[in-house]
């Protein structure tokens, strides 16, 4: 078991407001962590700061990913080194097909690691298999990225991208919200397929529901930009029953 992500005393600002306030978190390979917390508590801010969004500025503290200081790496380098962010609100890019996009993404990563481009046939075989697993029809792949996709389709498409890119650390920001039960199972099976001894995931969610399919090793409660309590799946169940009040206003 090796250290994948370590966050030390992190403060992140958006504009003039401090949103993440003194966060500490350690994630090792093979682990699945869940973050739960009220709306506006800064969960997406944390996710975007890890991915490197320019509007989310690290004021102090440090994020270390596999021994690298993340702040020294560009957004694309972080991705190429294996950080994946599944967006809470996936972006639509009409005019750029899902297939072309995925191919460019995979080859960018290969190039970064000094590998040759993936052959068209290898790529297509892989894409076919994984899109089937995510229950995404072939015809969707020739459409623009997320263009006209329903909420659930967008989320499944995020997981497809994750599976294609084979990251080391996967941060999934509310990938379960807006999903029906069937889609939720599909997403969970995708995430479970990704889990192994070498990878790790950080799952941001509001519902214990998803965690019944993807059992986390740790559940953290996020409040005002910091983790206020850590437990296991039982903590998620308690939250489901009692809400956040009993923790935030004891």
């Amino acid at each position: 078991m090796s250290n994948i992500l370590s966050i030390k005393d992190l403060y992140v600002d958006v504009g003039d407001t401090s949103i993440v306030n003194g966060l500490n978190l350690k994630i090792s390979s093979g682990e699945t962590h869940a973050i739960m917390g009220p709306n506006g508590s800064g969960k997406s801010t944390l996710a975007k700061a890890i991915a490197g969004h320019p509007d989310y500025k690290i004021q102090s503290g440090k994020i270390t990913y596999m021994g690298n200081d993340l702040s020294a790496l560009s957004i694309e380098e972080r991705s190429n080194l294996g950080v994946f962010l599944g967006f809470q609100y996936p972006i639509e890019i009409p005019g750029l097909s899902n297939t072309a996009f995925l191919k460019a993404a995979i080859n960018a990563k290969r190039k970064y690691h000094g590998m040759d481009e993936l052959s068209a046939s290898e790529f297509l075989v892989d894409l076919k298999e994984k899109s089937k697993m995510m229950d995404i029809e072939q015809s969707f792949l020739s459409r623009g990225v997320n263009e006209g996709f329903s909420g659930g389709e967008k989320k499944r498409n995020e997981i497809l991208q994750m599976l294609m890119l084979e990251p080391t650390l996967s941060i999934l920001d509310e990938t379960d919200s807006g999903l029906d039960i069937d889609s939720m199972k599909v997403v969970a099976s995708g995430v479970n397929a990704f889990r192994n001894k070498k990878t790790a995931s950080l799952i941001i969610t509001h519902y214990e529901r998803l965690l019944n399919y993807i059992t986390p090793d740790y559940v953290h409660v996020f409040h005002d930009g910091a983790i206020i309590k850590t437990g296991d799946i039982q903590l998620a169940k308690d939250l489901e029953e009692r809400g956040y009040e009993w923790l935030t206003n004891p």
């Binding site: 490197g52 320019p54 509007d55 991705s79 890019i93 005019g95 623009g144 991208q161």
Partner: protein, 413 residues
């Protein structure tokens, strides 16, 4: 305007009397309308008159450049290619009966092409100017029921100090169809003044493409007038890469029931060039439909503008009008203005219009980068996808590829 006067006086070509007369009355009219027209939105940001004066003041011996080192090879296989250089149209092929080149041989019967009467657009700046300085005209008149299979490719060869003033007159006869692409190759220190009149008779169809390559230190005025009778279908696609000062005017008249027009333009000026796009659609009959789709990609210190107007008269029923203009600004210094206007005086019209301008979307860039794609490639993807949304609508696969290739060679991130 003394420059234009001087040009006419010094023109050594022997024109028939009616043509001399037409040129002079056009100049007179030009002087008359200029003060008013130059104030309107189309021309007010251009230095048209200064430019014309400077240009036509000079001696015209320089423009007789030779064709020796120009490769006359069409890059569109199987098309019938007609060239234009030093004021004349010519082709290496046998000219089919539906095409006629004037070749300076102005005939009495051609008079109407240059007539000023009865039609307000003929008294506009581009037409009057074209009447004064053009030397040759090309006419296409399809036969009834003729389906012209060969693509007509009209190529305006590169010029230096050129007065490039072609005049075209196209009639698509009843129940016939034709595809035409016009292409202005790169010129330098030139004035391009292009005027085309198109008439589509009942149940005819037309695909019309125009590519204006990047022009250097040149002025471009491009004018298209289209009239459509009933059950006609016209698709227009323009690609304009800009000139020092470039203006395109399109006036499309839907003059018969079930006449449909789709007019798309991609304008991409860079450096200090400009591209001003104007389109006016008149729904003059019931059940006519129009779709206008203009996209600008403005780079460096370039300027673009869109002015679009759709008019539907009070008594017209069952029309549909769609107008969209989207612009992408690629640098802090690039500029765009957009004015979409719907003048619709009845309720039985389905219409929509929208206009948006902005720089590359930051969130889209972020999304692409989180998938490992670097800044330049990400920008490239976004620009391409913006362009492709429009270019993918080009009906002919082969022309779509052709246009895409030209686009690809003409922008930098």
């Amino acid at each position: 305007m003394d420059g234009l006067q001087k040009f006419i006086e010094n023109d050594s070509h022997e024109f028939p009397d009616w043509m001399n007369h037409s040129r002079e009355s056009s100049l007179k009219k030009y002087k008359e309308v200029c003060p008013k027209h130059l104030k309107n939105a189309t021309w007010k940001n251009t230095k048209l008159n200064e430019m014309l004066n400077d240009f036509f003041e000079k001696e015209f011996s320089v423009q007789q450049s030779t064709l020796d080192n120009i490769d006359l090879k069409s890059n569109l296989d199987n098309s019938l290619t007609i060239y234009f250089h030093a004021g004349v149209f010519f082709t290496k092929e046998e000219i089919p009966s539906y095409i006629k080149l004037l070749n300076h041989k102005y005939l009495e019967e051609n008079q109407s092409i240059f007539g000023l009467e009865d039609r307000s657009e003929r008294q506009s700046i581009p037409y009057l100017l074209n009447n004064i300085v053009s030397r040759d005209a090309l006419m296409i008149d399809t036969a009834v029921n003729q389906n012209v299979e060969r693509l007509i490719h009209i190529v305006y060869l590169p010029n230096q100090n050129g007065n490039v003033a072609p005049r075209l007159n196209i009639n698509v006869s009843e129940n016939s169809s034709i595809k035409i692409i016009e292409e202005h190759l790169q010129s330098k220190n030139s004035i391009i003044n292009h005027c085309i009149d198109i008439n589509c008779e009942a149940t005819s169809s037309l695909e019309y493409y125009k590519v204006n390559h990047r022009q250097n230190d040149s002025y471009l005025i491009s004018n298209l007038n289209l009239n459509q009778e009933e059950d006609t279908d016209v698709k227009i696609f323009n690609l304009d890469l800009g000139a020092d000062s470039g203006s395109s005017l399109n006036h499309l008249k839907l003059n018969g029931e079930n006449s449909n027009v789709a007019c798309s333009t991609l304008f991409m000026p860079s450096d200090h060039r400009s591209s001003h796009q104007n389109v006016v659609i008149d729904h003059l009959s019931d059940k006519s439909s129009s779709s206008v789709n203009f996209r600008g990609v403005i780079n460096d210190e370039a300027t673009g503008s869109f002015f679009g107007k759709v008019r539907v008269a009070k008594e017209r029923r069952g029309t549909s009008a769609f107008m969209q203009n989207k612009n992408l600004l690629l640098s802090d210094e690039s500029k765009i203005s957009t004015v979409p206007i719907l003048e619709i005086y009845n309720d039985d019209t389905e219409c929509s219009h929208s206009a948006t301008s902005g720089s590359l979307d930051k969130e889209k860039l972020f999304y692409l980068k989180t998938r490992g794609i670097n800044e330049n490639d990400a920008k490239d993807f976004l620009i391409k996808s913006f362009i492709d949304e429009l270019a993918s609508q080009i009906k002919s696969r082969r022309l779509r590829d052709y246009v895409n290739e030209i686009i690809a060679g003409n922008y930098k991130v």
